[in-house]
Amino acid sequence: MGLGRMLRRGALTLGALAAFGFAFSALRATPALAQQGQPIRIGAVLSVTGPASFLGDPEDKTLRLYVNRINQAGGINGRPIQLIVYDDGGDANRARTFATRLVEDDRVVAMVGGTTTGTTMAMRPVFEDARIPFISLAGGIEIIDPVSPFTFKTPHTDRMACEKIFADIRARGLSRVALISGTDGFGQSMRAQCQRVAQAAGITIVADEQYGPRDSDMTPQLTRIRNTQGVEAVVNPGFGQGPAIVTRGYAQLGIRLPLYQSHGVASAQFIELATAAAAEGVRLPAAALLVAEQLPQNDPQRQVLIDYKTAFEREFNQPVSTFGGHAYDGLMILADAIRRANSTDGTRLRDAIRATRGFVGTGGVVNMSATDHMGLDLSAFRMVEIRGGRFVLIGN
């Protein structure tokens, strides 16, 4: 055991760790500049890949599209926006790291993002500690209830979706409901909310089935529901391809009960995946984006929705989803607040966002306050039914 060997080992370990150090210094690539007319840095941590990419991808596309548009139109108060997007792959731990990076390293003035409730909740303390406004794009009610000073969200909550669906079921004179939920965050969170509000809405939940977000066949669960006595309607909290497979299985088994999907499938793509035949008659609560053209001419949202829809579909050649719409709303609320505050100071920006009144977005008309960091009410949700392969607005 010579000294030479020991030194070699030492040198080797040192070398490996030096490489590690280099990797660190490579991280410093983003220079922190502070000049006149400097861009306004806005951060976004989105689940562009991974299990929630179905949501994160259109959010990413929308943010990039509209930041470009704002910049081409001269920016905000004469300053361009610099958008910094990180992909967390749906992982909360990674999201947390990127959030820290946005705050500490990129020094963003605000954040629009957080695709899932899980990533949002993991990132929230970072922005709260740094006193930087954080507009989340996730549905979970716990994001804003109770209110945290710097955290906002644009989508409707899953509790609202449950209430909307249950109200529609009651209006049909039905009350006994079967749930079939995805085991992803979206599905589980909405399932819990539905169970919570069921009683108040006069609904009894008589069956509670689940499926994995990647499962390829839900007929066993649906068979079970079919064989459960007294089921009058079926509700499917979930997003991604799962609800499409549930809808297909529903048709395959010839179940005749009303089927409700959630706002998690609010995209024309759902009909394509589930096939128009199987999806016929399926109802879901959704933002008005899906039925923009069917809105009356005097609806305040109509023009905003048609503009967003046209812009997105022309740019990316794929159908819009309400998820991209959430990102649009978040970005626009923020831009509006920066304009009004004429400042990028965290607290003043927060106050400006809180003061948002009558903002017309894709999700509805937003009225924020110190106690309501979402600013939407149930009227922002429209009940739509799929008829002949199209979403049709049904009277509320």
Partner: protein, 320 residues
Amino acid sequence: MRLSPRWQFPFRARWATLLILAAVIGTIPWFFPSGFYFRVAALVWVTALAAVGLQVLMGQAGQVSLGHAGFVGIGAYAMALGPKYLGLDVLLCLPLGAIVAAAVAFVVGRPILRLKGHYLAVATLGFGMLVTMVLVSEVGITGGPDGIRVPRAELFGWRIRGGETFYWIAGVALLVGVWIALNLQDSPSGRALAALHDSEVAARTVGIDVAAHKLRAFVIAAVYGAVAGGLLALMNGFVTPDAAGFLASIEYVTMVVIGGLASVPGAVVGAALLVLLPQTLTFLHEYEQAVLGVLIMLFMIFLRAGIVPGLAALLRRKAA
């Protein structure tokens, strides 16, 4: 199959490794331009701690585990559930999580470790999936897929928070973890593990209780994982079932193999690589995944025994 020699740590080289690691942990903060770097580095140390545990099981004892993240998850959720349901101080939950993980490993390990190779891999995979499934499905208790909050720790009235504090906590934890793993490697128990790794038959005939020693390694790995998971939860103030997921388990295995299965510091280097790569590759945007995949393949093709032993062999050849 080609065998790479066991990475031995005679007395002085062992201390050299620890010294270098301590020096790195102690000095790199001087070069950090912002608080974010403390966060990433702390993440590297914590992840490395979990990887070192897996190195004990896979590298030293030669037993594959595709469920290591399951123990990380147990440790992490102990930090959230202990305070919430048992009213315990969150810091007390760190050892508690380790004890629970050790107990689970002890019970589960007994039957599972009778399996070998790929069969063991699939059994541990099943264990990891079971843990994730419970975390995901028991929404009422665990918060489900959206995760659960972890209270902030207080020590004598001082709130433990901030990237810098966690950097030092994680760094010291890793140093202790590496010290223990190196101790083990150069001890009677470590030799027993290395022996059963090479030839179970021969190990048994020299009196090594193979089943008992495998179980010990499994429990040790579980404790490492749980402590790392606990620290991670404390750092994040939040846990989701991803921490226990299959992909996380695969990542730990990749770290240990890419750094060098036979080497304790290899696990640290592997963890550093896999935590830092996604951070350095963000400029590639959508090409990030593809490049990450190519890099993993290249590392394994050109440094088959892993980075640390592979570079050691290169240096040796240069020197000769």
